[in-house]
Symmetry: C2
Subunit: 132 residues, 2 copies
């Protein structure tokens, strides 16, 4: 049972990552997020700087809402948009984990290169006593 739950959780996390990455793959949608990262705003305020119809911007906003990157709440007659930081945390987490692996790998390679430079004749295999 625990395993099934864990798999379900992994599957829905993966689905969320798909949606967030796809949402971020568009310059207008990234510009909307950049705008909202400076503070929540009305839909009309968000749409204003773009050279496109309110309808076109609204479509991008709906993609962002569906991905969970932004949220909408009503304040009287206005629709207010804001960023949902948790969704971007998840993306950041994925990149961070991947980066962690490759940075360790790069560190190991750098270390090896330094060792080889110190003593070009001996590779890491036939080295008897290491000198860090």
């Amino acid at each position: 049972m625990v395993e099934i739950e864990a798999r379900k959780e992994a599957a829905s996390r993966s689905a969320r990552l798909n949606a967030v990455f796809a949402a971020l793959a568009d310059p207008t949608r990234r510009a909307i997020i950049e705008r909202l990262s400076r503070g929540e705003a009305r839909v009309t305020e968000v749409a204003e700087p773009f050279h496109m119809s309110l309808n076109a911007v609204s479509k991008h906003i709906r993609v962002l809402e569906a991905s969970g990157v932004i949220e909408r709440h009503r304040k009287g007659r206005d629709h207010i948009l804001s960023i949902n930081t948790r969704s971007l945390d998840e993306v950041d987490g994925w990149i961070g984990r991947t980066r962690h692996y490759w940075e360790e790998r790069l560190d190991a390679m750098e270390h090896l290169l330094r060792e080889l430079k110190k003593d070009p004749k001996s590779g890491p295999k036939d080295r008897k006593h290491g000198s860090r």
Copy 2:
């Protein structure tokens, strides 16, 4: 001239971000990156764990190559794949900048909430002397 160059650079950075985010919006492609983040590998090694044809995996690999996330070099008869860390740095940079804004915003809101809790009767506007 400097402005034109800066605009060209911004446009190509934006195009790269589009391609990288689109590349990351697929679970198979993210799994390939996770595999390569543990070290470079042959195409056949990368394809092995997936329940799909080599041809299907190759298509995903080509999308990742086109986005600049991974690179290919030949070693004798083998095609070796590795991660190009700079492309993911760019994605990380974009998220980092966006995060920076909203974290400042969240900090400011938290500060305001703390102030209001201390003295629920006075809002920030009619406060005479602040007490941090």
